[in-house]
């Protein structure tokens, strides 16, 4: 199995890791110290981050993986995720977008006129609710391009911000891509470049981003995952992932679903 690596640098131990592992590590830091992280369908990298944090925290935070039986304590059916969020009991959730714009609006529905679209995505999932009520929503889109990060989305599945009088206890805190990490400033409704991943550059980020964003004079490089984190991910978490993300677990970590995981 091929493993990407950081550029060799003088005197440092060369840590080899995959892009997926770096992004999971970035997300682990964004999650921080919270009680409950929920992960939606089709989010294997955020799931990796949440489960790795839980392993490191000895069971804390609670992690709810949609579509899992083992990593899901809900006993009230599919609505419990949303009821739980409505109760203020989900601290972190992840959303993506076929398009994401500079105000944090996300589009999971279609490009072009809604009634005559050029491109159709699967649909909004729970974004039209969770983006409003989960305090820390981490946007996650691996493909960082002018096609995905646009000046203005064609369809707002969920807006990055809301008028003062609209009930809103949550919203975006960051956007993670294959090239960089943006933080979101809710008051200004703008992204700010926080760090660029190893092997990528600020110029490249600007070149491939369809919206304006703020940035400091010197943009740090995203730190590499520690050896301990990588070990946890590969040895402990990867087998857990296989239940819900068998393709991902096999492709990234070379782990096949064990029959006992059913």
């Amino acid at each position: 199995m091929l493993r990407a690596s950081t550029s060799p640098s003088q005197g440092k131990v060369r840590v080899e890791f995959l892009p997926e592992e770096l992004l999971a590590d970035v997300i682990m830091r964004l999650i921080g110290d919270v009680r409950h992280v929920a992960v939606g369908n089709a989010s294997p990298i955020p799931a990796t981050a949440a489960l790795t944090l839980r392993e490191r925290g000895g069971g804390k935070p609670y992690v709810s993986l949609l579509g899992s039986r083992r990593h899901m304590f809900f006993t009230d059916g599919g609505r419990e995720l949303f009821d739980c969020a409505g109760q203020g009991r989900i601290d972190v959730f992840f959303l993506s977008g076929g398009e994401i714009d500079g105000e944090g609006n996300i589009n999971l529905v279609s490009i072009g006129d809604y009634d005559q679209p050029n491109v159709r995505f699967p649909g909004s999932f729970g974004s039209g609710y969770l983006y409003y009520v989960v305090p820390k929503v981490i946007l996650f889109r691996v493909e960082h391009s002018r096609r995905t990060l646009v000046p203005k989305v064609s369809f707002i599945s969920a807006p990055g911000g809301s008028a003062e009088n609209v009930h809103r206890t949550g919203g975006p805190v960051a956007l993670v891509t294959n090239r960089c990490l943006f933080a979101f400033d809710r008051a200004r409704r703008r992204f700010r470049l926080e760090s660029v991943h190893p092997g990528h550059t600020v110029a490249e980020v600007i070149e491939n981003t369809g919206f304006d964003f703020d940035r400091p004079d010197a943009v740090p490089v995203t730190p590499a995952p520690s050896g301990d984190t990588l070990r946890l991910m590969r040895e402990i978490v990867a087998p857990q992932l296989a239940e819900v993300y068998p393709q991902f677990a096999e492709r990234v970590f070379g782990v096949k679903l064990a029959a006992s995981a059913l």
């Binding site: 039986r69 009230d76 419990e80 949303f82 999971l108 969770l130 809301s162 609209v166 059913l262």
Partner: protein
């Protein structure tokens, strides 16, 4: 009393063309054998409610021309990519789409369960989901102060259709933690369920099993369908058949390939 039908084809016979049918998400017991039976029968003009999302099931029903209206929050093949027949139908405008967000569907089904005409939900304000749902309303929360909130009308399906682990001969269906199946059965006028196997005895007599049971009172018809969710997973029973789903994704990318898929895996049974 619920009927134990001799076959899955018999069990779905009661679902007429034009019915509003609610079906569950991939992880909660998708009735794939029943779906193939409906396609074989050539059911038409379904108003399909996928609670709150769908994968293979909606894609196949749409591809086979069974669906007139689809209300859901997303259709994809998950790890196997976009849902090709769904995508083609939207781009080709061959189905009417009612885009929702997951909790809106759960809440609308709960409204029917409770016999109330509508239910409020937070979120949605300022989204284009709301902008394209003329059947939803925004009111000023009467208990608030300049506090807009969305009201969703109840969704009252004609049929709930799902697959579960087991049922007894009194028609009680064990669903365990897949509680949305109970809500669906409460909300729908009729319920048709397929199950892996029959349970000897009465599920309601066991304090533990009864807690995870849809009472036969709500169930019209049951049929036994071993591996009835295949190629989708049935949690606590079997995983998804990834090889088959990859084949589906490959074939269903074109109308011709999809037709071949149906010939091999759906109509084959009729021919045999």
């Amino acid at each position: 009393m619920p009927t134990i039908a001799p076959s899955v084809d018999d069990a779905v016979a009661a679902i007429p063309d034009g019915a509003m049918v609610v079906v569950p998400r991939e992880s909660s017991g998708v009735p794939m054998e029943a779906t193939r039976a409906l396609i074989r029968r050539g059911i038409k003009r379904l108003s399909l409610v996928a609670l709150p999302t769908s994968t293979l099931q909606a894609d196949m029903l749409i591809g086979a021309g069974c669906v007139e209206t689809l209300e859901t929050s997303a259709v994809s093949l998950g790890e196997f990519g976009p849902a090709p027949r769904f995508t083609a139908a939207i781009l080709g405008k061959t189905i009417a789409m009612k885009d929702a967000t997951c909790p809106a569907l759960y809440a609308s089904i709960q409204a029917a369960e409770k016999g109330v005409p509508f239910i409020p939900l937070r979120g949605l304000i300022g989204s284009d989901i709301l902008a394209h749902r003329p059947d939803w309303r925004v009111i000023d929360n009467p208990f608030g102060n300049n506090d807009p909130i969305v009201l969703l009308p109840a969704i009252k399906p004609d049929f709930a259709l799902f697959h579960a682990g087991m049922a007894d001969r009194a028609g009680n269906v064990f669903i365990g933690r897949d509680r949305e199946l109970l809500t669906m059965a409460h909300a729908a006028a009729h319920t048709v369920a397929t199950v892996e196997k029959l349970y000897d005895g009465n599920l309601m007599d066991d304090p533990a099993l009864s807690a995870g049971t849809v009472p036969g009172f709500y169930v019209d018809t049951i049929a036994v369908a071993p591996r009835g969710a295949w190629p989708l997973p049935l949690l606590d029973h079997y995983p998804a058949d990834g090889g088959h789903l990859a084949e589906y994704a490959r074939l269903a990318a074109t109308p011709e390939g999809f037709a071949r898929y149906l010939d091999s895996y759906v109509y084959a049974k009729r021919a045999a």
